[in-house]
Every structure is written in C-alpha cells, then in structure tokens.
Point group: C2
Chain length 198, copies 2
C-alpha cells in the first residue's frame, strides 16, 4: 500500500519535484498542508493560480514581471548606462537585496555549457548585445557565478562586447565574516592575488 488516498499521493509526487524537497520532506509538507487547509493549503493553491496567470518574463531583461517590461526596466530612477548581467532571476533578487546596484539588469537564463549543449543563442546573449548598442550602455558588470561555466560565459560575453564597452566583474575574495580556516584554497589564493593596501 502506498501513502494514502490517490489525491494525496499525487500531491506528494508533485511536491517532491520542487528543488530542496525530497520524497520524505514532501510527505511532511503535504501532511502539514492537510492540517492547515484554510490557513495554508487553499491560500497556497490560490497564490499559485494567480502567479500562473500573471507572471511572465520581462521582454527587455528576462526578469520575472507582471507586465511586458518589468518595474526595474521601466523605473526612471535607475541608471541606464550600466547593465548588470546575471545568470538567473534568483541572482537578480540577491543583488537587489544588497541594494548596492542602481542600474539595470540582464538575466541570461543560464550559462554556456558544452556538456549540456547550451550555446549563446540558447541564452539571452544576442538580446544583451543589442541592448548594449541601443541603450547607450557604458559599463557591463558581469555578476556570474564563480564556476567554470559561469566564468566561460563571462569571457565569451566580454569578447563579444569588444573594447569600447567597459566590462567589469564582481571582486573575488574573503566573504564578510568569513574565517580563513573554513575557506577553500581557490578563494584564499584569489584574495591573496587581489590584495589591497591596508
């Protein structure tokens, strides 16, 4: 016998497909939902319906939005001369939480990957090059993950942009609050190479 009535099993199976949830935590989550039917189960289902109905990709930058052009791209208070290139919407959100960047974004939707057969045209790279030309961009900040694929993608984009555009990337080094003892060798050597006058 399986875990319970068919409806519940179907829900558990779907929940287990979410990143971060396995079969066991999906079961726990579903039991919790059944117990909190009016407080959580129904509101969650409604919220999903409304996101499914309204959420879409910004045509300009790839951010998640409820309109054709997202709030950040439409905002007049954001600098137009700088584009911060990120892999994913989650990275855009992380940048926004730090509230340090006041320009606009471009979400690639992944990284180049020979293994997964992801080429420039599978990402939003052509759109980035067009935006750089059309929006009079002076600086492109490559905020890609410090992985092999992330850095390959960064080099490719820098090549395509050519020497007229200033291309920068996030500094690498010891994270704030980081303890040397717990850092990997790569981070320590990157921080050492990029050391600054104290």
């Amino acid at each position: 016998m399986a875990d319970g009535p068919e409806d519940i099993e179907a829900l558990i199976e779907l929940m287990a497909k979410l990143p971060g949830l396995g079969p066991r935590s999906a079961r726990r989550a579903v039991l919790h939902l059944v117990k909190k039917r009016s407080l959580l189960l129904l509101p969650l289902s409604d919220a999903m319906q409304s996101v499914a109905a309204t959420a879409r990709e910004c045509l300009n930058c790839g951010n998640i939005s409820t309109s054709e052009i997202c709030d950040i791209c439409r905002s007049e208070s954001r600098a137009t001369g700088e584009i911060c290139v990120v892999e994913d919407v989650a990275d855009l959100w992380a940048m926004e939480r730090s509230a340090v960047f006041k320009g606009r974004y471009h979400v690639l939707g992944g990284t180049l990957s020979a293994l997964d057969a992801v080429g420039p045209d599978n990402l939003r790279i052509p759109q980035l090059l067009r935006r750089v030309r059309e929006e009079g961009v002076r600086e492109v900040i490559l905020a890609l993950n410090a992985t092999v694929d992330g850095q390959t993608t960064a080099h490719y984009i820098a090549d395509q942009l050519g020497p007229e555009i200033e291309v920068t990337s996030l500094a690498q080094g010891v994270p704030i609050g980081g303890e040397l003892d717990y850092l990997d060798d790569g981070t320590i050597s990157a921080a050492m190479r990029a050391r600054k006058a104290f």
Copy 2:
C-alpha cells in the same frame, strides 16, 4: 525593494511556511515553479485544490482519508484485534511502508505535553479507549516516538487501558545497518539492556 511582483512575493511567503523550506529555498522553489508553469505550477495548484476538497480525517482512527472511514479501517483483510497507536499520520505511513503490521491504527494527533498544555482530551485518547472496548481489541501496540513526551503518552495510555489488554511497544535497539560508533549513548544502553541470546 523586495523580491519581485507582489503575487510572487505572496507565494514565496506562503511556501516559506512549509516545514523544511526557509525563505531561501522558498524563493528557489517559486522560481522553479514559474519556469515550469504548465508542468508543475498549474498541476500543483490543482492537486492542492483537490486535496482540499476531498481529504478528511477518518472518524474512526484519525488517518487521512477521502471518506468518513478510511481504507484501512474498512478493509476486511486487516486484523481487528490489534491496534497500533501512532502519534501522527506520517508515522502511520512509515509503518505501512514497512508492511509488517496487518492490524488497524489509531492516530493520536500528537503527544501529551505539559509545556504545550496538551492533555488527553486534546488528543484522540478517549476515542482509543472506546475503540478498545467496542472492537474487542486484544493487543495495543504503542508505536510512539522514543522522546520524553512520546514515552509519557505511552505510559499514560497503558495505565488507562488497564491490565486486561496486552500493551506492547516497539523494540528499542541498534537500527539495521547502524554503526555503534555513530549511535547515541541512550540507544546503545537500551540495546544492551534488551540484549538477546545469539
């Protein structure tokens, strides 16, 4: 600025209330859902609606069911003389997966807890005592968690059942595949006290 359009934020907030998901993993899950709108987001919302509409507690044992009396309580192939008492539906499911017990269940819905002011009448204990009288139960198996509250509850139920009913509990000892080095002292001493001829 927050994480995105209001609908998305509302969904993230609700998802973060699920056990096992924090704000960060809720954000990841929601981004995944938005990307898989027709494959995951809409089916998940529908599955939640259908569970909300059909799932209910079995009036007899407290299991989750789509009818007034659950499949296990209605099944004629399950022994009627034995009731396995569990804290939660998740524990019932775990027992069913092991497929070792062929009797019926009784879900308490928690444990006695002085700190949280949970008394016998907040649990399904009166119903258990009535079932034991009415269903001609010979053996009550207490499959409660090996926590202080779980064991307090087990002792209370055993007291209430009185000496006419055989009351048993799950054996304690070294889990299958368990390595002594990684076990806590309590488990080792319980296994030592309950040692058997080899």
